[in-house]
Symmetry: C2
Subunit: 336 residues, 2 copies
DNA sequence: CTGAAAGCGCTTACAG
DNA sequence: CTGAAAGCGCTTACAG
């Protein structure tokens, strides 16, 4: 549709100028090692001079490969509130682009195994798919079974053998809780996220592990269940305080709940970190600007996106790939 | 690359089953009004039964249209900190998908007019481009001149005739400042964002307009220049307080600076909103969770993304389109 | 209103 | 190692 300054070059021009056949042009451009070096040089020279760019649609039609990788994002509200999404996507896109692949953005309801997204992906329009926020696994399972390369962000449930990339939720939570203990906290509580999802569950497990490593078991009443929202952090902290267990440390499964909890603590006439020390998770901008600033577990989101892209590329190249767990880091601030 | 359960249907099968030519199949699928209704029905029936999906690459090659729209995002750090980006993109993607267009995500340096992104876009690989965070206009201008449909997020500089979508930065700032005045503030100051960019400039203009509508002119010393960061909000508030002008109201050009400013105000032994009332911009999650919670100007980000997509579709359909300014809304909380 | 035919720009067995 | 040729699945003047 865009009117070009001059019509784009094609193989026929290149072939003529370089004195070879179109087949040879194709081989050179696709890195076929059998081509005579002199011809390779000749073709490359012409390609350079003409500023030639391969016509993707034509290549896709002829080869059966689209060079398109879909990023599939569930079209629910969580997209709008998840600050990581943009960062992950940009990491994916950058890596794919460096490898001559394009990133297709698919934002839609992934609920149904027969919905538009499912049809689309099964239509062979993309060479691979990267899933975010995987709620239902049925579709992904089917795609994988059909041979579609699939990589997932976040640890999936069960013993499924999907390849995924995730931050070390368990290790981060463990480190956070041990930090609180090292600061002298005797009664460390936690406010969990959604523990049905693996991230929330792993963060809870990390918390429990800290107690185990200390040779004890966490009192059930030290565990309160939130949903990652500010309000739930506030409410659950109230619940914890009402239980009157002498809580002097809190690991919240994200920063937003940590901030909510601090609000509740201060409303109860206590102070952070003097009376209760608090550690969050995410190292969000809020952790930095909140008063007191919040000690938090940092994930490398950019790296996460890049890793998703890299795994996809290796998978497309036919390599056997394994899930990757990225390390987290505790950023110590005022709250603990 | 994905192994299909069964090979996809093609026009030849549909044509055979429906008793028409492939040309007619194409016409029906592209909504050509001249086709006899009976044949339309016959083709649609077969298409339905076979669960046929058009092969995009083939259609693109034959028609010269890719049905791909690029979202171009500058690969600088601001991407990682801009919470709107994900939301806008998802809005764009949803609208495009409903219109059978695909969204291509391009995250790369757009600095150079001769860089990879420039070549890519000029290679005719996409039917249109939506630009975010437009720093350099040269590339966009050239693309537009070449006939590529282009829509921009945010008001561009100068009198360029690009089509853009933006929130009413001027109106939002005006409303915010008038609100402070209506609350009894006599000396309302502002901390601006980057006023080289239009959004920052328009927010400053809105602030100045509030003074004009009151029949006065804002004292130059009531204006401090920040850069949207927490730190700059804090620093510039200190500067304002040191000027000793009796500031009793502040309009900060975003929430992060508002939060920084409040930190500086409290450090100076003053309180918000009692001594100084503060209004921010963005209505971010931080405005809700900060203590005190922050009165802020809300933009409809989802609508912004959808509007970008809609304008692109109308442009592709050959319509004349005009820039759109979306209204903002003041959300009143504790800080003012 | 409809069909036969050419063509979009690549890729890839096939034969040498 | 290389070329001629067929073909990928659509679209679109052209002629009727």
């Amino acid at each position: 549709m865009a009117a070009q300054a001059k019509p784009r070059a094609t193989y026929s021009e290149i072939a003529k100028a370089a004195g070879v056949s179109e087949a040879t042009v194709s081989r050179v451009l696709n890195g076929d090692p059998r081509v005579n070096p002199d011809r390779v040089a000749a073709v490359q020279k012409v390609v350079e001079e003409l500023g030639y760019k391969r016509h993707r649609a034509a290549a896709a039609l002829a080869s059966g490969r689209s060079n398109l990788i879909a990023i599939v994002i569930d079209d629910d509200l969580s997209v709008f509130s998840d600050p990581f999404w943009a960062t992950i996507s940009s990491g994916v896109s950058r890596v794919l682009m460096q490898n001559e692949l394009q990133t297709l953005l698919l934002v839609a309801s992934v609920d149904s195994v027969d919905g538009p997204v499912a049809h689309y992906l099964q239509g062979g329009e993309v060479d691979g798919a990267i899933f975010f926020q995987l709620h239902k696994e049925t579709l992904v399972k089917r795609l994988a079974k059909q041979g579609m390369p699939v990589v997932i962000s976040g640890t999936p449930h069960g013993s499924s053998d999907f390849v995924y990339v995730d931050s070390d939720n368990f290790g981060g939570a463990l480190q956070a809780t041990k930090h609180l203990m090292a600061q002298g906290c005797k009664r460390v509580a936690t406010i969990t996220g959604d523990t049905v999802a693996t991230a929330g569950n792993q963060r809870l497990e990390g918390f429990l592990q800290a107690y185990r490593e200390r040779g004890t078991v966490a009192n059930k009443n030290l565990i309160a269940h939130g949903d990652y929202s500010f309000e739930s952090g506030k409410e659950q902290m109230r619940v914890l305080l009402e239980r009157d267990l002498g809580v002097d440390g809190l690991f919240a499964a994200n920063d937003l709940m940590a901030i909510g909890a601090i609000a509740a603590i201060e409303e109860a006439g206590l102070s952070v970190p003097n009376d209760i020390k608090v550690v969050g998770f995410d190292d969000s901008i809020m952790a930095q600007t909140s008063r007191p600033s919040i000690t938090s577990v940092r994930q490398d989101i950019v790296r996460l996106g890049e890793t998703l892209g890299e795994l996809m590329i290796r998978k497309l190249a036919g390599e056997e790939i394994e899930p990757v767990i990225l390390p987290t880091e505790l950023v110590v601030r005022e709250s603990a």
